[in-house]
């Protein structure tokens, strides 16, 4: 019994690492721009496709493809932010128009991917082969790589936010856009870069998960929904909240798999999400005044 439980918890940590990474990118964008990026799952999808094309069609070694694909998605996201999202922030009704616009981007990118790459689910080979056998547990190295990569990316992002000039600009913009601008922080450029940075995190999540889940135009939808749940649970805009809530959700989901039937799992997750927003809309680490 306990062996099975431990295996579920290990799976939960792996899942949770991915949720935390996805949540971290989304909350970074929200925190800096106050924009809920509904196209977030599509940057994850673009990461998957970019990685697939660079490794299989261009025959690149995977570590190089990982970096190059992240750079490509970063650039695409920066163009999207500068061309569509950022200009909307200056206008009245921006809180609605940015959501509508990112929803539009989401559906447009899904269907563009469908038109270009087809509806076929494509698989990516494992980056590392073999299985770790320890205390009766069988953990493929690929899954360990996922946890390690997610941990490195999250820690790296936290370090960038804490210690670099860009990180300070992001935090200043998140705290008070106008005050930051007065003190010489280029708030608009910072927002655009934060949007691209968060989107690149989603793209990286899509790449390291690509060997396990297939690459398809709709691959981002379930992960984006989880990312939304994570950032709401953690408190919209809170980086630490997203990481904690991501791990929590991963473990709860993995352990709960045995308890609920799979066809209702999503519905239950959404019901919990609504309940959380109802009872504690600012989440674990958010600030109450930001909601009302």
């Amino acid at each position: 019994m306990s062996g099975q439980l431990i295996e579920q918890i290990v799976n939960g940590v792996i899942l949770g690492a991915i949720y935390a990474l996805m949540g971290a990118g989304l909350t970074l964008i929200y925190g800096t721009m106050r924009v809920l990026n509904f196209a977030y799952g599509e940057f994850y999808m673009l990461g998957g496709y970019a990685f697939l094309l660079l490794t299989s069609a261009a025959g690149m070694p995977w570590p190089l493809a990982l970096v190059l694909a992240a750079v490509l998605v970063f650039a695409f996201a920066a163009v999207t932010a500068a061309g569509v999202v950022q200009p909307l922030l200056a206008r009245p009704g921006w809180d609605f128009s940015t959501i509508a616009a990112t929803l539009g981007i989401s559906i447009a990118l899904q269907n563009a991917a469908l038109a270009i790459w087809g509806e076929r689910f494509q698989s990516v080979p494992y980056m590392v082969d073999g299985t770790l056998e320890v205390a009766g547990l069988h953990i493929p190295y690929q899954r360990l790589l996922i946890v390690a990569a997610a941990a490195v990316l999250i820690a790296g992002s936290a370090a960038i936010l804490s210690f670099t000039r860009f990180g300070r600009a992001v935090r200043a913009t998140a705290q008070d856009r106008e005050a930051a601008r007065v003190l010489g922080v280029p708030a608009d450029r910072t927002s655009i870069l934060a949007f691209a940075f968060g989107s690149a995190l989603a793209a990286l999540a899509g790449m390291i998960l690509a060997p396990i889940y297939a690459v398809s135009p709709w691959m981002g939808v379930p992960l984006a929904l989880k990312a939304f749940a994570v950032v709401v649970l953690g408190g919209l805009g809170s980086f630490r909240g997203a990481v904690v809530a991501g791990l929590l959700l991963g473990i709860v989901e993995a352990v709960g798999v045995a308890l609920t039937s799979s066809e209702w799992r999503e519905a239950i997750a959404f019901a919990v999400l609504i309940a959380v927003i109802w009872v504690r809309p600012w989440g674990l680490y958010g600030v109450e005044r930001s909601v009302r």
């Binding site: 128009s97 929803l103 709401v232 927003i277 930001s290």
Partner: protein, 340 residues
């Protein structure tokens, strides 16, 4: 001609009347079933868009889950008519009633939360739960296989016209049914926005804090906006069910449906009366005219939303308001014949 606005109001009403008459006389000129089919879908989705525009455009309560109301009313009316043999003329109202009730339910989070981001997540999550419910309750709805054999509206016996049928070949009749629905929704929202409630909606759209400080009962008007909107959207969903007579979770409860309506309202002009109708004409009609775009329809809708919010936030209807129409000759200063 009393009051300074009288001439303009009179002209607006006359123009609206003319437009309605022109729309209603289309079947006298065009009889191809295909064209009428497109116009019927336009009218049904225009009604949906009018309902969503009431709560989001006029009252400023941003909601992204109205496809759930459309789907609930469509399935409710279809199931009641199919399983109990009730007339769709009755079940459509029951479906709309259910849409109103669910509208009340969706209004609840809007009472507590003002953050648009949180409301967007709640309403989208709610609609997603409804879609999963519809696809999982297979004994009732047949899930993804689709609900088939939904009864058509039964024939009416009207004075002068005699027996009027609404199934299959009765498309002109259904065109009038859908058009009456659309025009009634348009007129109701127009009247509502000219009442005390309409002023309250505009006040809470502009600033909830200011509206509250002026003694406007926010909860009451939020409930009213969502319920009225739920009724209109529900009615359009029920009529849709008995028109297409096949429902699947994706065709009515999929996010694509909401995306399409958002695109319609944004292109037509959010917060305007004619915007939803113009937008529905452009999007439903446009997609059918450009048959080749069929496969890229959703790509097009997504791109239209982005372009409309970015470059064209006022929408077609508001742009038309600023056009300087030629003034009627009567209003021009007449040259005095007595003086040279």
């Amino acid at each position: 001609m009393n009051g300074m606005f009288a001439p303009r109001k009179g002209r607006t009403l006359a123009a609206a009347g003319l437009a309605a008459v022109a729309w209603l006389s289309i079947p006298l000129v065009v009889q191809q079933p295909y064209v009428l089919h497109v116009l019927i879908l336009t009218a049904i989705f225009a009604t949906f868009a009018i309902g969503w525009n009431l709560v989001t455009g006029f009252a400023g309560l941003k909601t992204f889950g109205h496809h759930a109301l459309f789907a609930i009313a469509a399935y409710a009316s279809a199931l009641l008519a199919k399983n109990f043999g009730w007339s769709p003329w009755i079940t459509a109202w029951l479906g709309a009633g259910l849409g109103t009730l669910v509208g009340f339910l969706v209004a609840l989070p809007a009472l507590r939360i003002r953050s648009v981001a949180h409301l967007a997540i709640v309403t989208l999550a709610f609609a997603e739960i409804i879609r999963i419910l519809i696809s999982n309750l297979k004994e009732l709805t047949r899930g993804e296989l689709g609900l088939i054999g939904i009864p058509a509206f039964d024939p009416l016996f009207l004075p002068v016209l005699g027996r009027v049928t609404f199934g299959g070949s009765g498309r002109p009749a259904f065109f009038y049914l859908a058009s009456v629905l659309m025009l009634a929704a348009l007129a109701s929202v127009w009247a509502l926005m000219r009442s005390r409630a309409g002023l309250a909606f505009v006040a809470l759209r502009n600033s909830q804090e200011a509206a509250e400080s002026l003694g406007i009962n926010l909860a009451r008007y939020k409930f009213l906006a969502f319920a009225a909107s739920g009724f209109i959207v529900g009615l359009s969903g029920a009529v849709y069910a008995h028109y297409v007579r096949v429902l699947t979770p994706h065709s009515v409860a999929g996010l694509e449906v909401m995306i399409m309506v958002i695109a319609m309202v944004l292109v037509g002009g959010i917060g305007t009366h004619l915007g939803p109708v113009v937008g529905a004409l452009v999007l439903v009609g446009g997609a059918e005219v450009l048959r080749d775009v069929g496969n890229y329809r959703l790509l097009l809708y997504g791109a239209l939303i982005v372009l409309a919010t970015r470059f064209f936030p006022q929408g077609i209807a508001r742009m038309a308001e600023h056009v300087r129409w030629p003034r009627p000759a009567v209003l021009k200063p007449q040259p005095d014949p007595e003086r040279p």
